[in-house]
Symmetry: C2
Subunit: 375 residues, 2 copies
C-alpha cells in the first residue's frame, strides 16, 4: 500500500476542559490522527485512579492511542485496538495492580522527564529554606521585626564545596544536580545499574530543553547497586544532603530507616550506646513517602541525627493531621505539589508527541513501562 | 639589597576573637609579616562604622597593612605607614565621606566577590518562595493541613525559558545568573560600561572557586549605560525577574521608581489613565535599600504592577516596625542577612591573601576602590 503512517484514533481523557491550542498542535503534527477529547470528573476521595468507569465503552473500543491521567479501561478486552497508553503521571505505581499492567502487553509510557524543572526548584528552595533558616526570617517579617541574624553567622553555611547525593539519577535527580552544581556543590549519584561508561550515563528519556544533565557529566562520583551494602557505601560518601528520587517498588519500600540515617550522619555508638555523630545531612524526599520509614525519620530529626528534612510526599497521603511527623524538628512537609505548574499539561503532551514521532520513524520510544522491573 | 619582600606590619581589627587558624595561615603564606590582632567591640546602635576610636593610636602608627570591618584611623596622619587597607565589606559606601577616602590616597580594597554564593542562594531561595507560593505551604504545615495546591496549577510557573535581568554584573549578579541559568532561564545583564568584547565580559575580581561566571558567557544579552534611556531599554527587554546588585552612588539613588516598575511590567495607560499591564516581574534587591524608591515600590506591589519583591536591604535599616513596606503584597523582607554564613571570615581573609600575593608579584590588585567612581 505505501503512503503515510496508519490512521490513528487518539482518545484523551483528562480532568480539565480541552486545551484546544494543544490538541490543535497534535492535529497539526499528526494530520492522520482522529482526536476525541473526554473530560472526566476527578475521582472521589483524593484518589488518583478512577474506579467509576466514566468513559463510555464505545470510546474505549474506538481508541488506538490513549492519553490519560487517571482512567484506564477495566480490562484489555474493553479496548482491543490500543497500541499505546500514555500516562500523564511520572510513575506507574498507582497502576501496578491494574489488569492492563498485569494481564496485557499494551505498551504504556509515562510522562517521566517533565517533572525535572518544577521539582528541582522545590528541592533547591526547601533545602535552602532549611539551611538558611528562612522560617526564622519569615516569622520576623510577620512581626515587623528587624532581627539580628546571628544564627547564620554562628553555624550557617552555603553549598559551595558541599556534597549532595542523588539517589535515583533520573530527570528530577539530574535537574537537581545541575542546580546544586551551579550553587558550587559536588554531586554523588546512586543508581541501580552500574554506570561505568559515558554511554551508560546518558539520559535516554524525555528532557525538557535547556535543563537536566543529558550526558551525565555532572556527578563527581557514581555509586550503584540494589543491595544494602551498595546503598550504605553511597550514604557514607560524605553527603551534606541526600535527595531521594527513586521509584517505589516492593524492594525500595522503607529503604531509608534508622541505620541509613545514622550512616548519613556518620553516627558511631560509644561503649555506653550513646550516639555520637561527626557530621550530618539534610534529607529531601520528592518521590514516594513509603520509601522512608517515617517514625524512624521523625526520631532521627528530633534526636538531631539529621539536620532537617524536606518532604513533598508522605505515607499515607494526605498525612493525617495528628501524625507526629508534622511537628518533627526542622521538617518541611508540603502536600505532594512539587511537580505542579501550568507547564505540566503542555509538557506531558510534548512527551507523547516527541515519542510518537520517534515511533513513526521506527525508533524506540522512551519512558516505556518495563513490566519486569515494575517501572 | 635584593632578598625577599619587605617586612610588613599587619594589623587586624575585627569584632570576633582571633581566628587563630586563619592568622596562622596568613603567617605561613607571608612569613615576613608581623601580625597584631585587635578585637574591638561592635559599634553602638546597629551602626557599621565605629566612631569611638577603640584602636590605640600606637597601633595605627605601627601598621603598614590594615584589615578591618568597621574601624579606620580618623585621619591619614594617624596611620602614616599604611600601604593598604583591606575592608571586610563588599562596598565602600559606608566610608564614602571618611577622610581616609576623601583626603588620602591609601589604596583600599573591599571583600567584594566573597558574597556571591550566600547572596545568590538568598536570591534564588526568595524568588522561588515567591514564585512557588511557599508561604501558603508553610502556613498549611503549621496547621497540619494537607492543602490542595491548586494555586500553582492555575497560574504557577517555573523558571524554564524565563528571562532574568541582572542589574550590576559583579560577583553576586554572576553567581545568581549561574544558578538561574541552571534552572533553565535566560540571563540579561546590565552594566555601566559597555561589554562588547569577550575580554570586557570577564570577572576581574575575586571569585570563590567553582562559582560565578568568570568569562561572562552566561548572559544571552548585554545592556549597558548610565542613563535612564539605557536602563529603560534593559527593563523593557522582557524580564520575568529583576535582580538589583548595583553599587549605591549619588547617581543610583532611587534609580528604581514608579516609571521603572511600569516598564518592567510592560504597563501601558489607557485613554482614561487606567494602567494595563501585559506581563509582570519580580524585583529582588540585595544591594542597598536606597537604590529603590520604597513608597513607589509599595504601591507597585499593592497595585499588582509587580508580581512580588524580595528585599534584603531597606532604607533606612533597621526598617521601622511601623513602615508600611512590611505588609506590602507579596513582599519578602529580611534584615540584611543574605551574605551571612560561617564562610564569610575565611573568604574575606582569602581575598586579602590572594590579592597581596599578586601585589608582591608586581601584579595589579583587584577590588581596589576607585575614588573617582566612588566604588
Amino acid at each position: 500500500m505505501g503512503g503515510g503512517p496508519e490512521k490513528e484514533h487518539l482518545l484523551i481523557v483528562l480532568w480539565q476542559p480541552e486545551p484546544k491550542d494543544v490538541t490543535a498542535e497534535i492535529q497539526r503534527r499528526f494530520p492522520h490522527f482522529e482526536i476525541k477529547y473526554f473530560q472526566q470528573l476527578p475521582p472521589e476521595g483524593g484518589q488518583i485512579v478512577d474506579k467509576r468507569g466514566q468513559v463510555p465503552q464505545e470510546l474505549w473500543q474506538w481508541a488506538t492511542i490513549l492519553i490519560t491521567l487517571s482512567s484506564l479501561p477495566a480490562r484489555a478486552e474493553d479496548a482491543p485496538n490500543l497500541k499505546l497508553i500514555h500516562l500523564f503521571m511520572a510513575g506507574f505505581d498507582h497502576y501496578s495492580n491494574h489488569p492492563i499492567v498485569t494481564d496485557s502487553d499494551i505498551p504504556i509510557t509515562s510522562s517521566s522527564g517533565i517533572h525535572g524543572p518544577p521539582i528541582a526548584e522545590w528541592i533547591v528552595m526547601t533545602t535552602l529554606v532549611l539551611s538558611r533558616r528562612y522560617a526564622t526570617e519569615y516569622e520576623w517579617q510577620k512581626q515587623h521585626h528587624w532581627g539580628t541574624g546571628r544564627e547564620m553567622l554562628v553555624d550557617g553555611t552555603d553549598w559551595v564545596g558541599k556534597t549532595v547525593g542523588i539517589a535515583g539519577y533520573g530527570s528530577i535527580g539530574r535537574q537537581a544536580a545541575r542546580v546544586f552544581k551551579a550553587l558550587g556543590s559536588n554531586i554523588h549519584a546512586y543508581t541501580a545499574g552500574a554506570r561505568a561508561t559515558p554511554e551508560s550515563r546518558k539520559d535516554n528519556g524525555y528532557i525538557v530543553p535547556g535543563t537536566g544533565d543529558p550526558d551525565g557529566t555532572v556527578p563527581r562520583a557514581w555509586y550503584s547497586g540494589t543491595t544494602k551494602e551498595s546503598l550504605h557505601a553511597f550514604l557514607s560518601s560524605g553527603l551534606d544532603a541526600l535527595v531521594i528520587s527513586l521509584p517505589l517498588t516492593p524492594s525500595t519500600r522503607h529503604l531509608f530507616s534508622t541505620r541509613e540515617f545514622e550512616i548519613l550522619a556518620n553516627t558511631t555508638h560509644a561503649a555506653d550506646g550513646a550516639p555520637k555523630k561527626s557530621r550530618s545531612a539534610y534529607l529531601i524526599n520528592i518521590a514516594r513517602g513509603a520509601l522512608v520509614d517515617q517514625p524512624a525519620l521523625k526520631a532521627a530529626l528530633d534526636n538531631g541525627v539529621l539536620l532537617g528534612a524536606a518532604l513533598d510526599v508522605t505515607d499515607p497521603e494526605p498525612l493525617p493531621s495528628d501524625d507526629p511527623l508534622w511537628d518533627a524538628k526542622n521538617v518541611i512537609i508540603t502536600p505532594h505539589i512539587s511537580g505542579h505548574g501550568t507547564e505540566y499539561t503542555l509538557r506531558a503532551f510534548d512527551v507523547f508527541m516527541v515519542n510518537w514521532a520517534r515511533h513513526e520513524r521506527g525508533e524506540k520510544m522512551f519512558n516505556l513501562l518495563d513490566r519486569h522491573k515494575g517501572y
